[in-house]
């Protein structure tokens, strides 16, 4: 192992972890407020990547500038999906039904992407994707740092909305006790739509960075959603802070094992960490013992 490799692995882990954290934060927010598992979060990320790809290839719009279009577009898509499908879910078997419904959404979006783009790998290109910084005797593609900063800024915006605004008070009240929040006039339906839309909007950012860091196909969403789910479970369902820590733990553990030992075992070791944490704390690192106290 050459000098600086481990530092590089940690740095890479933190930078990539930030992007995963953002995608997982959207997922955990949706879980917290709507009491559902959004399996489609993975395909939304991939859709975000294809959206950036199309804007760049068809209109010559750069990746970062394109976000001005893709973030609102994903927000509207999220609002539509919540209104069209999620709102129809009853209380009975809600979590299982939500998995089925969002899985159906996944298949539809995946099918549309396959029809339109085919199954070949695509990747996002830009000068900052190919250029690198020189750190710890290694090369770090600029997009890693830019992507991380963007994800960090997005997470900060999410935190600001959650902790400083009126919507944030409503969202957190609905996460804490949906029924009681409704009784004191919080419009839980509206809050649910906004939360789902925001949770999906962040995938525009996640998808752009994901697509710039690695090639993708319409099928890439399955690996992604399984990772996002483990992050959210590790951090504690419904905890945004937990999603951040969970994402960092996942990526840093995998990166360190990869360079210090072998990439073959990296994912397995991460899952071992996950299992140990869940044995000790079944509610995850920052989860509430009872996710929804009624």
């Amino acid at each position: 192992m050459s000098a600086g490799t481990l530092e590089m692995a940690i740095l890479d882990g933190i930078l990539t972890g930030g992007v995963y954290a953002l995608m997982a934060a959207g997922l955990t927010l949706i879980f917290g407020v709507l009491d559902m598992i959004n399996i489609a979060q993975g395909i939304f990320v991939i859709l975000g990547a294809y959206a950036s790809y199309s804007l760049e290839h068809s209109f010559g719009i750069g990746l970062f500038e394109g976000l001005i279009i893709t973030i609102p577009a994903m927000f509207l898509l999220g609002a539509f999906i919540e209104w069209a499908f999620i709102r129809r879910l009853g209380e009975y078997n809600r979590v299982s039904m939500s998995i089925l419904v969002t899985y159906a959404v996944t298949i539809v979006i995946e099918g549309v992407l396959l029809l339109h783009f085919g199954s070949n790998y695509r990747s996002l290109t830009a000068s900052y994707v190919t250029q690198s910084f020189h750190v710890f005797g290694n090369y770090l593609p600029k997009i890693y740092l830019y992507g991380f900063l963007l994800a960090l800024a997005s997470v900060l915006v999410l935190y600001f909305i959650l902790y400083k605004t009126r919507l944030g008070v409503s969202v957190r009240a609905a996460m804490d006790n949906r029924f009681a929040a409704q009784l004191v006039g919080v419009e839980v339906k509206r809050v649910s739509t906004l939360t789902f839309a925001i949770g999906v909007a962040v995938t525009a950012v996640g998808g752009m960075v994901f697509g710039a860091v690695q090639p993708f196909t319409p099928n890439s969403s399955y690996d992604l959603i399984s990772r996002l789910l483990t992050i959210v479970v590790l951090g504690g369902l419904g905890s945004v802070g937990g999603a951040l820590v969970g994402a960092l733990v996942m990526v840093v553990v995998e990166d360190i094992i990869s360079v210090a030992w072998t990439p073959t075992w990296a994912t397995l070791i991460y899952f071992a960490v996950l299992v140990i944490v869940l044995l000790l704390k079944p509610q995850g690192l920052f989860g509430q013992r009872e996710v929804r106290a009624q």
Binding site: T165, G168, A181, V184
Partner: protein, 260 residues
């Protein structure tokens, strides 16, 4: 707006059953404006179901609910809250993961516009002033920045009352406000209710602590088997043999009634 009734709040012949059990059986009750009204009765007599029916949490199969002369039957809980009926719960509902002060802002959300809520700060300065005033009133101001989950049982009851008060309801429905609360806090709670009543707020209180109810309320309704069978002044209720019968007539003796 046809005046169907002259009472402030009136429930007419409400019926609601679970399976074969009639939780509300042709239940009627009238609440006068500006009064503190009590609602007592053994466990399972339908008091909480009646509260749920009034506040829109449960639908009723028959009958009507009127508030200020207008039918509110079938309205949603948030619509009823917006009309000025606030409610506390037997099992206190506070927002444990938010601070005491943040709890105070939840009930102020309802008038906010769609996307404006994303950019507007959580509490306006008037709301903050009011929240401080109410927290001072219930004695929780020094705990304003603590997580609500760290409060004691009695403090939670006070917080629940406080965050309802910020929405300035005209009618307050309290479900067992004194249940599980220590004696000095019960006295304080009684004083708070009397003071709020002197400001013009109307109360309907379900309570098992007879001393509390009979000294506080202007009028008391007694429920048994899903309907109100007597209404009277506290001293009438205290001496009426039917009331004691209602409590003793049931098989379930776990009842924690405190007969004065």
């Amino acid at each position: 707006m046809t005046a169907e009734t002259d009472a402030f709040l009136e429930v007419k012949n409400a019926t609601r059953s679970y399976g074969g059990v009639k939780a509300l059986d042709n239940c009627s009750i009238k609440i006068s404006e500006g009064k503190i009204t009590g609602l007592i009765g053994p466990n399972g007599s339908g008091k909480t179901t009646l509260f749920n029916a009034i506040t829109g949490y449960e639908s009723i199969e028959g009958g009507d609910v009127y508030f200020r002369g207008q039918s509110i039957t079938g309205k949603t809980p948030e619509q009823i809250f917006a009309l000025g009926i606030g409610r506390t719960f037997q099992l206190t509902k506070i927002f444990a993961r938010m601070t005491v002060m943040e709890n105070m802002f939840i009930a102020t959300q309802r008038k906010e516009g769609w996307l404006r809520s994303v950019i507007r700060p959580a509490g306006s300065s008037e709301e903050l002033d009011r929240a401080v005033e109410i927290l001072k009133f219930v004695g929780l101001l020094k705990l304003a920045e603590s997580p609500a989950g760290s409060l004691s049982y009695g403090q939670r009851k006070l917080l629940e009352l406080a965050y309802i008060l910020i929405a300035d309801p005209t009618l307050l429905l309290l479900d067992e406000p004194a249940g599980g609360v220590n004696l000095s806090l019960i006295k304080e709670l009684g004083d708070h209710i009397r003071y709020l009543n002197s400001l013009g707020k109307t109360f309907l209180i379900v309570e098992h602590n007879m001393d509390f109810v009979l000294t506080l309320c202007h009028e008391v309704n007694v429920m048994s088997s899903g309907s109100v069978f007597m209404t009277g002044k506290p001293e009438q209720v205290r001496s009426d043999p039917r009331v004691l019968d209602a409590y003793l007539g049931i098989d379930d003796f776990e009842e924690e009634i405190v007969v004065p």
